[in-house]
Symmetry: D2
């Protein structure tokens, strides 16, 4: 019963096989390997973006921070939601990589940035000339940190606002595949066709060992990104093993298969929560993350049985067994029905 994160499960066997296959003979280092050429072509095809600049890094924070540093000046402010991973969970990495850019938090009900509030915040940053921060990129997360999913229209609206102010746009797609499966659209529709300039395309949370693709639809950013990546110590010498993961991930739609599995497991779990008296969602679960509250007593039962997940609000210790504590549950591709049903049985008590 492991629902703490989608980074605690095992690597998909097809990825492991690809690593073994890649482990033959010599390969040029630092991204000059043949497998990287293949990955570049795969991503360009998947995204219908024949000009895109494509790179691999080993962590999502690296993908986000290096992209934002390429899109933002140090005197800019980056617009994001108050619960954005780049704001809450990267220990100031965006500030570090950008050389001190600021993050402006925009009201985001359900973790989705509100367009009117975005426009208002952007306007507010223009009243002080050289004194205030300048308008930098818009960064949105898809799937959001609360498990909701922007529609293509919503992304288009937000990017349209950003573009009307000349601002670049970034999509933190640590759970890109999970969102795509939910929306049933194409990668192009969810990104550049909607106005996104650069994507952190996640692999790690969805069955890979540790690889994220960086995609710039405009290749003008390529050389600066390469320098920033190297200077950030994120250029792996044995790049072929990152490339092997990403290539296998994109082969035969493995990435969509694992995302579908994760989303389906989450749906099963959510359905059970929904039918549990005293349990309620904080956000509508649309991909592979659930935020739900239920009484402390039920948390205690789950905890005692070894269930692993984060309690976001409230504390397990306490006098009132009826007090509602908020849980965050995440399913990865390997979550089993058996585990889910066991969890739900304990939840219902």
């Amino acid at each position: 019963m492991f629902f703490a994160s989608d980074n605690t499960g095992p690597v998909h066997p097809a990825i492991m096989d690809a690593l073994t296959l890649a482990n033959a003979g010599y390969a040029m280092p630092y991204g000059a390997d043949a497998m990287m050429d293949k990955v570049r072509e795969q991503i360009r095809e998947v995204f219908e973006a024949p000009e895109a600049a494509v790179y691999l890094v080993s962590t999502g924070t690296a993908a986000n921070s290096l992209i934002l540093a390429t899109l933002a000046q140090p005197w800019d402010t980056i617009f994001c939601s108050p619960v954005a991973h780049i704001h809450e969970d990267e220990c100031n990495a965006p500030e570090f990589f950008t050389g001190g850019a600021k993050l402006t938090l925009v009201n985001a009900p359900n973790a989705k940035i509100n367009p009117d509030k975005l426009r208002r915040k952007i306007e507010a940053e223009e009243t002080r000339g050289v004194h205030g921060p300048q308008r930098g990129p818009l960064s949105i997360t898809q799937v959001t940190e609360r498990g909701t999913v922007y529609t293509v229209e919503e992304i288009t609206t937000l990017c349209g606002i950003a573009k009307s102010y000349g601002m670049p746009t970034h999509l933190d797609g640590a759970r890109f595949a999970n969102a795509l499966v939910t929306l049933g659209c194409t990668p192009a529709e969810m990104t550049w066709k909607a106005g996104i300039d650069a994507v952190s395309f996640g692999g790690t949370k969805n069955g890979c060992m540790g690889v994220e693709a960086v995609i710039f639809f405009d290749p003008k950013h390529a050389w600066e990104f390469e320098l920033r990546r190297k200077r950030g110590a994120h250029l792996p010498s044995k790049n072929r093993y990152l490339a092997a993961q990403m290539s296998a991930y994109l082969t035969s739609n493995l990435w969509l298969e694992t995302a579908r599995a994760a989303n389906a497991a989450t749906a099963r779990l959510a359905e059970g929560v929904k039918q549990t008296e005293g349990a309620a969602f904080l956000y509508e679960p649309q991909a592979n993350i659930i935020f739900a509250g239920w009484p402390r007593a039920a948390h205690q039962r789950l905890h005692d049985a070894g269930a692993q997940y984060h309690i976001m609000e409230g504390q397990l210790e306490g006098d009132n067994p009826d007090e509602i504590l908020t849980a965050r549950l995440v399913c990865d591709w390997s979550a089993s029905d058996e585990n889910i049903d066991q969890f739900l049985a304990l939840l219902k008590g």
Copy 2:
């Protein structure tokens, strides 16, 4: 005939097996996995350093830069050799991670820092009070970038000088194992017993897929390093796969076995070069790197036959077949006698 670098060869099968073994069930993310506990104990034992703080990162530049940022203040200068990897090959990563520290280059014949020159440079940095950079860490590379190896006494002397000025010390051990095999001493003797405070302990170039250990002998640096690592986007969520590599690397002396293989291959190659008329070493090859010069015509033969290595000085294209060009040759654990002999046959013409 691949002698371009020790990062172009395959991962050792025992490392691959360990990755497969680690790929079972769930594991806590971000270094809280059980395998990481094991690695920590293994390194503490290998280094006879029961208090050491131990971390894993995926690139050597990350290990170096994050350690130096922990040891240096932004207004310091780091003392290193003019051919130090941190100076020449990291695209200003040390400057980036330290927030703008300077690197002071100290004369280093054979790529080994000269103690008198070190003392003189340190003294020179103390004449300007608040105006000049302040004295920061000493950083030495073992095996050096020219294939030479410091003796334990030489390390002790350099660290002694640094310590006499209150300066911390760092050892860039991207090829730590190769040096240890050459010296036949213990890891403790080559490091903390000689005065080293922090080590970049390489795995990647010696048979791993992509893992370097960071070792601080004084655990007071631990928490700051953890924050710097996260902020540098170098904390892997699925840390278990880094830990699995490092653990296998240290098990049954695999790391020494692969280093011995690389050094032995290099010795065979060096012996052949030595016996080749018109060929000469620029530095005495003491581990797994050779710098040697020979006529352009021989380079041309090798190149035409597909041999891969870097020409450091001179250019393959040119009118004079007798002109001496300098080659850098590096052997990894997988270099075969057959390849070496084929190379030597071509060299001799």
Copy 3:
């Protein structure tokens, strides 16, 4: 009728005289001048802080940023109000000087930080371990950016909260003297006795040419600050001319005299605004800044007559003469009754 800022007026004659007096013969550069020794003693005496480390810089942003960089780590977050000068008016200077620290905005009615909200925000920053920013300094502004003044008790409460979490505290005292005159307390009471660790002690807005003192009550910060100041290019070679200003400013209570003049002028202006039908304060003016709204038609009259001040909300151009636009009015020591009365006459129409 110049009410745009307290940095648009002339330097007080006594400061000019002091500059002339200081301009004789030779003086040691970089703060080693005798006048600097005197300033240090004067500030220590005024603040009843015989151990304090004291420095001079030429801008308020320099004082704030260099102090915050000394008190904060790059992975920290600084707690301040949403309208703090360090957040809105320094073009990311705090982020730059700290190496990428974040600013956490705490709800601040009347621009004064609410203690409960502060506590809640501090608590919220402790749930993510190495992933989130760490707790850094609290920074408060006195006089606030909206013209209100913290009581000594309020400062004590806020600092007490910060201290209970081990956080250092900074007071942006660009208008320190104006606040002190309002409160009628001692400098010590408004700072270290209330729990403040470091002060940006303003001179520029209150009659000086361009000088701010940096005060650390604990001298342990001294050497780091000196290095940061030099590295920030804020160590003036001819420091004697900064010292001369600050010394004259503190002599014979000139600083309190000029602040009293500014506050009295503001009170006269505020009284007139108060008695104007259709005009209303947004915040209670407690020192030398007024935020008030009145109809566009009155703004137009004032503007046509050459009155200078900032319109903070709303725009002079518009169809509705009755629409209320917000003005910010600031008086410096040189504001004349004549000008104020002329302004009020125009306001009343």
Copy 4:
């Protein structure tokens, strides 16, 4: 007998008068004052550069660091001499403001960069692609830190080399006027006509209180510089007092008059040193700085009589009265013949 630096003497009376004159009524802050408009026009006229972007800052380190940060990327290396002020005397400010650029030291006999060595160093930075630092600006100092002066031809040659590699060029003109007086050329000839892109135009060392002009001949750098200046806390609110200094400095050729006085005083001093037995120049004094050696006994006599200057090599304390110690002597505009002659009398003993 004050020869320690040209920043220890008094401000020229004409500058003081200008400050008094500027101190009337209100003036727009942050560089929007009318006096700044005048300064801009004066500099454009003096430099025959009608398009130039012109700014004022209060320290030479600010001018240098902010210009270099505008011209260099964080992954670049800046080419300068080993004794450059930006390398030795700014406590890593260039590294700080650029976000971690490196400084490559180029052999510079007499403190003047050798063109062949420059070309060789530039070439050496191009062998490592993304791994090494990239080619950034060339920065030269005129008057050099050793008191020598580049000819216009020498500057043209160095800039020509930089330009042939697409590198921008910076002139640290802390002693610009002193050099101009030596060469007898025009400001344009010594700068943009010779290939210089940006100038730190010094006022502080030559009779001002604390002001340096930043000049970009191509105004495309203007807005970025303004943001960097504000973010670096170097935008003075009361800019009029910087502008008043610079304007007076450029009026009626005051700047050339003070430089001529300083150079003439230095020539008188140098002539005396030259005629002193046992004394010898290390570099030919060409402007207002002398490096000369003479026996310890003579230093002792001077020291006992209160003469102030820096001993660069060797120490006053020592057993051997005949040992040669190197002195650095600098004259400012106010150095008197009487003081010089007194100094020379003591020197000769």
